[in-house]
Each structure stands twice: as structure tokens, then as C-alpha cells.
Symmetry: C2
Amino acid sequence: MIRGVLLDLSGVIYIGNELVDGAAEAVRRLHQADLPVRFITNTTRSTRAVILRKLARMGLDLDPEALFTAPLAARAYVQRHGLHPLCVVHPALAEDLPDTAGEAYDAVLVGDAGHEFTYENMNRAFRLLLEGAPLLAMGNNRYFKEADGYSLDVGPFVAALEYAADTKAVVLGKPAAAFFQAAVGELGCAPGEAVMVGDDVASDVKGAIDAGLKALLVRTGKYRPDDEQQLRGTGADVVDDLVAAVDWVVRARDQDR
Amino acid sequence: MIRGVLLDLSGVIYIGNELVDGAAEAVRRLHQADLPVRFITNTTRSTRAVILRKLARMGLDLDPEALFTAPLAARAYVQRHGLHPLCVVHPALAEDLPDTAGEAYDAVLVGDAGHEFTYENMNRAFRLLLEGAPLLAMGNNRYFKEADGYSLDVGPFVAALEYAADTKAVVLGKPAAAFFQAAVGELGCAPGEAVMVGDDVASDVKGAIDAGLKALLVRTGKYRPDDEQQLRGTGADVVDDLVAAVDWVVRARDQDR
């Protein structure tokens, strides 16, 4: 029985600065079908407020509580553990993170920092890790699609620091099971009653399945044809886009009723 | 029977801009003992000519042929395979590498590029890899010691690109067995008759042992006390410094005579 839906944002709801065709109606259809929805994203180049404004400009108005982001999960983790991380993150993200500048750092928190991934910043992070600071990662995504092609996401730089300091990051976004399960908790259902819809075969789809959810891969965003081979035997389905995913979800829910 | 010696440079022969205490005499002692020597390095921030001048200034004059570098091994590989790599390397290295600027790139060659490891350069490399270009790495060292602390070497950035593009680099410096064996070939002996002396437990010592050489770790340069645990059961020995290493080598050779 399907009782809730998690939707990835970039590549599923929108690409670049436009909604995917039919996305706003598809989201409305989920609401009309009484299926609770959370939008979950590892995007670490924008605060929640900025993402909400961007979606609104494109024609999708969301309740702030419906947006579940990796940076907010990271902030909660850092506060829970009383840490003062050096943040190697995108400058636009500052508002959603604890301000630890000037403190004695005892952790490293890495997001998709883009051009902030300088040699100098990587070295500062590395030296803290060598001293035993934990490495916190807002995701481990490999790359994402920009207007001019694919670009490196946070994952490769986390891999670099893990290799350099012979350590393992704590992942605070997708595909960490704890992240999916926290989002499912807000849907008010069990993991096996939730469907995750994403365009990233590893982070969205396999991550969700490993966390006990059902999952759908859409053929939009960063989807590449050979992604489908990776899903053989996982139980995940592949559909063309968000509209087809919502069709799939509503039909599966109605069949089970 | 020991019939030849490979010496790492940075951390073994010199640290910063000074020879390790007794290094010049230790090298002379090897010559006097009729033990052929090659100096092998993954340093990819200087051409062979610059390294030779630097050593001479510090008081060690070497025959150019005695210096075996990862960039020269990389150049040979690229020429042998007819490749035109995008080079993400330190600007100072240009003279020792093929000039492929402006050509259609069909490979990526990565060295210890330091501040050239910008997000933009990493992205350019990544996009070529996604199209199927091979990744060539002048080593996979994790870090090295600078005057102000440890700094990231080439290995972490190779790990980042491997993770991003789901590929595996061809390593053209230490710890690649082919690199050690090519250097041993110049000594005119078999791998089992050669001793490698290094300060990097993974790249120098384990690499040499995996290539069939004997190996000594020195407690200078990037050595850290817990390195010794990693060598248990490998047959590698640990000595204080180059002087002690040469003592060890000459004594072992004389015992076997």
C-alpha cells in the first residue's frame, strides 16, 4: 500500500530554470489523491528560502515544511553533536548553516561548494581531518547537469578527502538511509509505504531502496540510458518523467485499495 | 643479494630546501660500495632540470640519467599510445610534458597540480572522462609535507575523478609496479636484488614490495609513527634516516657476499 511520496527536485520537478512539463499539475494530482508529499534535495547551493522562491517563480508554490534539504539535516546533526565545523560549502548556503567562522573547528562539513573547492580550502579541510576531525558530507552525488553539460557535485570532493585522510564521511543527505527515513517520518507512514521519485540512479533510487522505500527512476535530468541496467533486480521501476511517475503512483495506490 | 638501490627524493634526500643530515655522504658511500643508484620521484611540480639544479644547490650533484621521474614516465606512456591529453598539472612542469594545448583531447593526465586544482579544471577533466577518455595519473600519493604542514598531493584529486566518472586511473609513477620495474631495469639487476628507500609507507614501501623489491621506510619526511604498524608482515624494515638506510644496505650486501 502506497501512503506517501518523496520527490527529488532538480531533474525531476525542474531542469535549469523551468518546471518539467506537467510538473505543477502532477504535484496537484498527488494532493488531490490525498497522498502526502515531501520534496527532498541534496542541492547545497541554495537555502530553503531561495529554493522556495525559485519554485514559486516557476509556478510551484510549496509549504516550507514540505521541503526537506540536506543542509537542514546537516545543521540539525551539527547542533545535536555540539560540533563547530569548518564549512566548505557554496557561499549562497550560509543562511541555512550554523555560523562557526572564527571558532576552533572540530569537524569538516562539505557541500557542493562549486568554485569554493579551491586547493586552499581542500587543504584546510584535510589538515583538520588529519587531526581527527570528523568529515560530514551533505550528500555523495557524483555530478549534476548544468546548462552547458555535467558538473562535479560534492561526492568527488568527499571521495578526495576520504582518500587523503584515510577516513569515511558521515553522509547527511541522500543516499543516507537516515535521511530518507527522517523524510518518510514526516509523511506519517512506514518506509515500505513510501515511493521515492528521482533522476539519480545511485543517490535517489538505490539509496531509497536500501532505506526500505519503493523507488522510481525518471528519464529526465541527469538520467543516462545505461542507468537502467544498474536497477535490474532492485525492484525499482523506470518511467519517462514526473507525470508518468505520478500516474504510476496513483494507479498503484488505487489498485491496492 | 643486493645489487642496486632506489632512493626517493623528498623526505629522504631533502626536506624543504635542505639535504637531510649526512645525505650527500650517504649517496657517496653507495657509489664507493659499487652499488648503482637511481633517484625516483613522483614529484610533479618540477622538471627534471629544475630538480637537478635544486639538488646541486643543496650540495648533491647527480648525473641526469640517475633521476627517474613520474612526469618522464608519463610522457613516454602518452607518446607510446599516441594520446593527446588534457594536462591538469603544475605550471612549472610544462617543459617535461608533451604540448597538447589546442588539440582535441582524448585523455586526461593529472599531476600534483596544486592551485591548478580548480573546480573549472576538475570539471574539464571530468567531462572528458565521461566521454570515455582514459585517466592517467602521475602517482596516487595522498599528501606531502610542506613548511607549514601537510598538503594534498595528486592522489585525492585522482580519487575524486575516479569516483565522479566511475573509472580507474592508470598510475604512471609510484606505486605502479611498472614504474619500479622500469627503474630497476636501469640498475641492471632483478627486482628482488634492489632496495627501495622511501618515507611514504604506501607509495614507496608497499609499492616497492608489491613490485618484488626489498624496501626500507625512513623516519624522516612524511613518516608518521603509526606507519610502522602498516608494515607488519610485509618484510619491510624501518630505519631512522638515509644514513641508517645506507648502513643497512651496505651491511646486508656485504653479509651476502
